[in-house]
Subunit: 161 residues, 2 copies
DNA sequence: GAAGCTGATGCTACACTATAACAAAGGCCC
DNA sequence: GGGCCTTTGTTATAGTGTAGCATCAGCTTC
């Protein structure tokens, strides 16, 4: 992980351009390595998702995309989002039906998301203890885990103050 | 928790009538204690959700409800589901947009759900270590946690075999 | 270079999930 | 009876996500 800035938390003020550049660079590198196509359309969608650290709905992406890409329709967006999720470049926040740029793209992981209900900022956290607890619980139930959703809603440090 | 049978896991074979009866009895008691109305409509919806240990979609509930309740419409169902969720009698499975009877109604809790992608059976588990890990992670991020979603998809013991 | 293949996008229509807004009905208190 | 609150009825619409097939561009193969 050479992308220091992208690992900043979802603080209210920081140089977010760095986050975006890092995310795009990482995405290009990863897709090149894997031999999959990060087309201009897909890159644009990734860029839109990365506009902020708030999860963004598919139809918000569509509205934004349509400014520069007149032929954009729901399938256009959903296909790009599906691609980006398959490559681990974005996550879907299930409790919001919205999408968020991944700050750990490349390393396979299943994050924990802290979602502020006031400002919307959402932070992705990796937590070995959480992983251990989930693995242990699955094992105890003899359940073969494949996909995880761990989301906590509440108030971020700034908004709670 | 005197409702032993409801604490059975989502095994493929068990006496599910006991689950339903336990859930309805608990619901009636809880609502009486709290002075809220478990009306016939709401009880019927709870019964429908408890038809199985698989999460059930709102429109499935509607179809089933409409058999005995001709005036049923989407708001009818969603209002009942909202009530049941507010009273902690059912949970929403966010990754499926579906609803599941709660096996620990009454005790405030935030469960872990193991969702079998093959048979659909979904088990709710309470896990102190998971709670501790989530509390710790929230605290470290100075995040004030309010609502949790923890869902694991995969294969249950029976379906993995 | 024509034919055929593959992956990506265009395009229309539709399915599924959820809520807004207001009316009507019933119980309860005074 | 009148006012209040909760629940349900009713119509319409908003929001989220897919199916299915056409087209196009790049590549391979002959
Ligand atoms: Zn940023
Ligand atoms: Zn906040
Ligand atoms: Zn059962
Ligand atoms: Zn199963």
């Amino acid at each position: 992980m050479t992308r220091g800035a992208a690992q900043q938390t979802a603080h209210h003020t920081h140089n977010h351009k760095v986050c975006i550049e890092d995310a795009l660079t990482t995405a290009r590198d990863l897709c090149a390595e894997r031999g999959v196509q990060l087309t201009p359309l897909r890159e644009k969608v990734l860029q839109i998702v990365w506009r902020s650290h708030k999860p963004v709905g598919a139809y918000e992406v569509l509205d934004e995309l349509a400014r520069s890409h007149k032929s954009a329709r729901p399938p256009t967006v959903y296909r790009a989002l599906d691609f980006l999720m398959a490559e681990g470049l974005i996550h879907k926040i299930q409790s919001l039906n919205a999408y968020l740029g991944c700050v750990e793209a490349g390393a396979p992981h299943s994050g924990l998301f802290l979602i502020c209900r006031k400002c919307g900022a959402t932070e992705e956290i990796a937590d070995p203890k959480l992983d251990a607890a989930l693995d242990q619980a699955s094992k105890r139930a003899r359940f073969r885990s494949e996909r995880r959703v761990v989301e906590i809603s509440g108030l971020c440090a700034q908004c709670a103050a």
